[in-house]
C-alpha cells in the first residue's frame, strides 16, 4: 500500500521542468511588456532586441499622460469608479438574493433560480445593438452610467452565493435569529453576511477584475471624452502603434492594479475558480 502510494505520487524532475516551462510561457509576454515599457523606442527596434528592463519607464509614462488623445489619467479614474461601484453592488445584491434562494421559503423559488441560471448562458454580444439604442434613447451614451447600471447585478454572482450559502449556513442559525426577533434583513446583515464573507470576497475580486478588463461594451457606448482605461489603451495602441514604448507603458499601467490584486489575493481567486468547477 505504501509502495503503491509512493509510486502514485512520485514527482519526477521532468514534471517540474514541464511546469517551469509552462510558467515561463505564461509570464514571458507580461515580462516583455515591462521590458518594452522601460525602454526607449530606438532600443526596442535593435537587433537583437533587449531582454532586460531599462530605465525609461518614467519618461514613457510621462508621454502617456501627456497624450491628449487617450485621456489616460481620466480613463484610470473612470475605471476605478466603475469597477468599485459595480463590485460593491454585485456583492450586495448577490449575497442578498443568494441568501433568499438558499435559506428562505417562498413561492416560485426553484423556477426563479432556474431563470437565473439561464441568464448566465446569454452572450453579451447579442444585446449590444439594442442596449446601445436604449442608451441613446435615455441619453446615457457617452456617460459612465451606461457602463455601470446594466452590470449592477450578476446571475453568476447570485448563483455562486446561493451555492455557498446553502452549504455554509445552517437552518438552525437562521431560525434562532428569527426567534430572537430579528427581521429578515437583520438576519441577512448580522448573521448571514459575516458567514458569506470569504465567498463574497472572491466574487468581489472576480467582479472587479472583469469590470476593469471589460472592452467591447465601453468601446461601443463610450467615446474618447469619457473613456475607461481599456478604451484609452486601445485608442493609444491603434493610433500610436509604432511608439511601442509609450503604448506598452500604458499597457503596464492598466495591468499593474490587476497584478497587485492578483499577487495579494491569488490564493483566494484560484480557490474560487476551482470551487466553482466542482459545483457546476
Amino acid at each position: 500500500m505504501k509502495a503503491a502510494s509512493v509510486r502514485l505520487w512520485r514527482t519526477s524532475p521532468l514534471t517540474y521542468l514541464a511546469l517551469v516551462v509552462g510558467c515561463l510561457t505564461s509570464l514571458f509576454p507580461i515580462y516583455w511588456m515591462f521590458v518594452v515599457a522601460t525602454r526607449s523606442n530606438d532600443v526596442i527596434n535593435d537587433v537583437p532586441p533587449p531582454l532586460l528592463p531599462g530605465g525609461e519607464f518614467g519618461a514613457n509614462v510621462g508621454r502617456v499622460f501627456a497624450n491628449e488623445h487617450a485621456a489616460f489619467a481620466y480613463g484610470l479614474v473612470n475605471s476605478l469608479v466603475v469597477s468599485s461601484v459595480v463590485t460593491l453592488s454585485v456583492v450586495f445584491f448577490s449575497t442578498l438574493a443568494g441568501f433568499a434562494f438558499a435559506k428562505l421559503r417562498f413561492r416560485g423559488r426553484n423556477g426563479l433560480l432556474l431563470v437565473i441560471v439561464g441568464t448566465m448562458m446569454v452572450p453579451v454580444q447579442l444585446g449590444l445593438i439594442p442596449l446601445y439604442m436604449l442608451m441613446v434613447k435615455i441619453g446615457w451614451n457617452g456617460t459612465l452610467q451606461a457602463v455601470i447600471v446594466p452590470f449592477l447585478v450578476s446571475g453568476f454572482g447570485v448563483f455562486m452565493m446561493r451555492q455557498y450559502a446553502a452549504e455554509a449556513i445552517s437552518d438552525e442559525l437562521v431560525e434562532a435569529a428569527r426567534v430572537d426577533g430579528c427581521s429578515t434583513f437583520r438576519i441577512y446583515w448580522n448573521v448571514v453576511l459575516p458567514v458569506l464573507r470569504p465567498a463574497a470576497a472572491v466574487l468581489g475580486l472576480l467582479t472587479f477584475m472583469q469590470t476593469w478588463n471589460e472592452f467591447i461594451w465601453p468601446y461601443a457606448v463610450l467615446d474618447a471624452n469619457t473613456p475607461t482605461v481599456q478604451l484609452s489603451l486601445s485608442l493609444l495602441a491603434t493610433a500610436y502603434y509604432t511608439d511601442y514604448a509609450q503604448v506598452f507603458a500604458a499597457t503596464a499601467l492598466a495591468t499593474l492594479p490587476l497584478l497587485a490584486v492578483f499577487i495579494l489575493f491569488g490564493r483566494q481567486i484560484i480557490g474560487g475558480i476551482m470551487e466553482g468547477a466542482i459545483k457546476s
Binding site: 500500500m1 502514485l8 514534471t15 517540474y16 511546469l19 505564461s26 509570464l27 507580461i30 516583455w32 526596442i44 532586441p49 445584491f93 442578498l96 438574493a97 441568501f99 433568499a100 417562498f106 423559488r109 426563479l112 441568464t119 452572450p123 453579451v124 454580444q125 447579442l126 444585446g127 449590444l128 445593438i129 439594442p130 442596449l131 439604442m133 436604449l134 441613446v136 434613447k137 446594466p150 447585478v153 427581521s183 429578515t184 441577512y188 478588463n213 461601443a220 481599456q230 489603451l233 486601445s234 485608442l235 495602441a237 491603434t238 502603434y241 503604448v247 499597457t251 492598466a254 495591468t255 490587476l258 497584478l259 499577487i263 491569488g266 490564493r267 475558480i273 466553482g276 468547477a277 457546476s280
Partner: protein, 317 residues
C-alpha cells in the same frame, strides 16, 4: 385579581390568534415578502438591460433599420440577405477556423497541465498563480502585447524565426498566419483558467481509485485515460461549452491585432462574425442587418454547444 385575570385572558387570546397584534403581523409580512424584495433587484435590472435587449434584437432584425428611429418592417429579408452575403460567410469561416485552431490545443494543454499540477509538488500556489496570470490581464493588453510580438519587422517571433534561418512571416497578411497569431493569444489567455477548472474537478476524484488501479498494475498513463478523463466528463463538457461561447464571440484580439479596424486585414482574412456585426451596426449604421447577424450568431452558439455536448458524451462513453 380581576385586572390580572384580564391580562391573562388577553394573553391567551393573543396566543390563540384572535387579535393579532401589529408587531407580529409585521413579522409575518416580513417573512412572506422579504424574499421577493431580496431577489427583485436582479430581476428588475436583468429585465431592463438583459432580457429586453435580447428580445428587441430579434424585433430590430426584422426591420430595415438605418438611423435610430427610422425603420420599416421587412420580415426575414435581413436573414435571406445574410445567407447570400459573402462577407458574412467569410467572417463565419474565420470565426470557426480560429475557434477550432484555438480551442483544441487549449483544452489538451489544460488537461496536461492540470494533470501535472495534480501531483504532489512543491510551490503549488506559485505554479497555479503562474498559469493563471495571463487570464488576469485584460484582452486589450493581450492584443497589444501579442500584436507587437507578431509584428512583421520588429516582432520578437519573427526575430526568433529568422535566427533559425527561416523567412520572416507577415503574420497579418495571410489567412493562416493571422489565424495562428490570434489563436495563440486566445490560448495564452485561457489555458490556465481551464487548467484550474479541470484541476478542481480532478481533486474531487477519490484517491483510492488510483491506489487500487496501481495495485492492479495500471501504468500512470493508463490511469489517466481510464480513470481521470472519464470522471472529468461533466467538467470537460463545461469547459468545451464555455470555450465555444467565448470563441464564437471573438472580437477584441483580432480588432487590436488589426490596429483597431473592424475589417480584419486587407482582405478580411481575420474578420470575425462579431467584428462584422460591429462594422455593420456601428460603422455602417445598418442596425437591422447587424441585429440579424447577432441572432444568427446566437443560433450558431446554441448549435455548436449542442453538437459539442453530443460529441463529448459519445467520445467519453
Amino acid at each position: 385579581m380581576t385586572s390580572s385575570s384580564v391580562i391573562r385572558s388577553s394573553a391567551a387570546a393573543r396566543a390563540a390568534g384572535d387579535r393579532v397584534p401589529w408587531r407580529s403581523r409585521l413579522t409575518r409580512a416580513d417573512v412572506k415578502f422579504a424574499p421577493y424584495f431580496f431577489i427583485a433587484p436582479f430581476f428588475v435590472l436583468f429585465a431592463i438591460f438583459g432580457a429586453f435587449p435580447l428580445v428587441y434584437t430579434g424585433w430590430v432584425s426584422l426591420h430595415d433599420w438605418h438611423l435610430i428611429g427610422e425603420h420599416t418592417f421587412v420580415g426575414f429579408a435581413n436573414y435571406t440577405a445574410l445567407f447570400a452575403d459573402p462577407d458574412f460567410w467569410n467572417a463565419l469561416k474565420n470565426t470557426v477556423g480560429i475557434f477550432l485552431l484555438a480551442t483544441v490545443p487549449q483544452l489538451l494543454m489544460a488537461l496536461a497541465v492540470a494533470n501535472l499540477l495534480n501531483r504532489k509538488i512543491r510551490a503549488r500556489t506559485f505554479f497555479r498563480m503562474g498559469v493563471l496570470i495571463p487570464n488576469v490581464t485584460s484582452v486589450a493588453a493581450v492584443g497589444i502585447v501579442f500584436g507587437q510580438l507578431f509584428a512583421r519587422d520588429v516582432g520578437l517571433v519573427n526575430y526568433l524565426i529568422t535566427t533559425f534561418g527561416l523567412d520572416a512571416v507577415d503574420w497579418q497578411a495571410n489567412t493562416w498566419s493571422s489565424w495562428i497569431a490570434i489563436a495563440v493569444m486566445v490560448d495564452w489567455r485561457w489555458t490556465g483558467y481551464n487548467t484550474l477548472i479541470l484541476l478542481g474537478a480532478m481533486q474531487a476524484i477519490p484517491k483510492d481509485l488510483y491506489e487500487s488501479a496501481s495495485l492492479d498494475g495500471a501504468a500512470p498513463w493508463q490511469q489517466f485515460w481510464r480513470i481521470t478523463v472519464p470522471l472529468l466528463r461533466p467538467t470537460l463538457v463545461f469547459t468545451v461549452i464555455i470555450s465555444t461561447i467565448g470563441g464564437l464571440q471573438l472580437f477584441t484580439e483580432p480588432v487590436i491585432f488589426g490596429n483597431g479596424k473592424m475589417l480584419g486585414g486587407t482582405l478580411g482574412q481575420f474578420q470575425t462574425v462579431t467584428m462584422y456585426m460591429y462594422e455593420t451596426a456601428f460603422q455602417r449604421f445598418q442596425y437591422g442587418y447587424g441585429a440579424a447577424i447577432a441572432w444568427s450568431l446566437f443560433g450558431l452558439i446554441v448549435v455548436f454547444s449542442l453538437v459539442n455536448l453530443l460529441l463529448i458524451r459519445r467520445a467519453a462513453r
